[in-house]
Symmetry: C2
Subunit: 240 residues, 2 copies
Amino acid sequence: MSVATIKFYIREGLLPPPTLKTGRTMGYYDQAYLERLRLIRRLREEHFMPLRAIRLLLEERGDRPLSADESALLARVGPKVMHRLDPGSEAPGQGPLTRAQVIERFGLGDDQLELLRELGLLGDERGEHFSAMDLELLAALDRADKAGLSRDRFPMEGLGHYVELLGELAKREVRHFSHFATTSGIQGDELGRLAESATELVEPIVTVIRRKLILRAIRAELGETQAPGIPSTTKQENEP
Amino acid sequence: MSVATIKFYIREGLLPPPTLKTGRTMGYYDQAYLERLRLIRRLREEHFMPLRAIRLLLEERGDRPLSADESALLARVGPKVMHRLDPGSEAPGQGPLTRAQVIERFGLGDDQLELLRELGLLGDERGEHFSAMDLELLAALDRADKAGLSRDRFPMEGLGHYVELLGELAKREVRHFSHFATTSGIQGDELGRLAESATELVEPIVTVIRRKLILRAIRAELGETQAPGIPSTTKQENEP
């Protein structure tokens, strides 16, 4: 990368000044700095992301603890949101399902059920109680299986990708909501209602964005089969 | 990390042997090795992921090119999938919408429309043509806005998180499908039908997993408010 690019990123507030500046033309940078620089490059070159989006993204990733106000807000609405997402009841209209019943109903091997539990996707920590949300996941997996994305062809370990990336996304979503709900001063009943419905409101947005990005990923693998005359990448800012 | 843990990961096939082995008790490891080790630790400690899922995940991340067979498969089904995801038609029952009409109908600022285009979420590269998929995204954003997740409270730059993480997910999904559709030898019509429906079949799975992980993220921020008597983390294997 050129010095001009690094200076440009510093000027735009994406990077702090060098870790240790030792002269007019000399500076030392630490490992974290290098990783930040690599991430910026990846976001620019793979996702063509504009600088203002990268700036927010850099602020919200990582493990910065929530501020006192953000924590207080989350303590207030968190339990309601959790209850809304998973009331914890067993399947409606029937008693609790045992592990054996779950295995039988969804044609899972004991081993596969165990994998889902280990991935944190199912059941309580002991894998004995199954909530309505658990049954919803099992039903969705079962439909995919019957439609041809079957477990003997596509190993269930692949769900690890979803756990890793949607897990990171979920963490950022919770932080993002806590931060901007705090700064915009949403209060009382409105705050509670909004927090409870936020997850569902974002679902159709996630669905369309994922489709769009799968389309983009296929296009990238096929090696640029875009309409002629349209450049495949455009720099949005005057980056050196 | 202890030497025993690293040896355990090597034995389990998660890590290759040291980059340079210089004696019975001495070895050198390069930067990529260290990053791989860090990732494994994060997947174990943050996501409690079992080793067999981590193994697959490590194989499928990164930029390993597709094999010749996988590329051939993708070349065959890719264009159909892209057409299914976005037929490219304008809004049904009406002519193409102009940029001005889109801005007016969805109450967007010109600047916000530009951000969506820069994030690669909307329109063609010039931001002049809007497909049915584009209008679906705009409608979903509009509903969230009207329900209180409004653009003046929650900056649209936050969509960068979705582009980064769902973009990485999409890349892996395309590779995962190409790989296992190839190895399981799915052929002809069945292959085409399955590829075309795969994205939609996975949507409800993504939705439930995201809910589950938001629940987990809130619980983590609130600092372990789990039911008493249930340990919050359990080691699934006998890891040293």
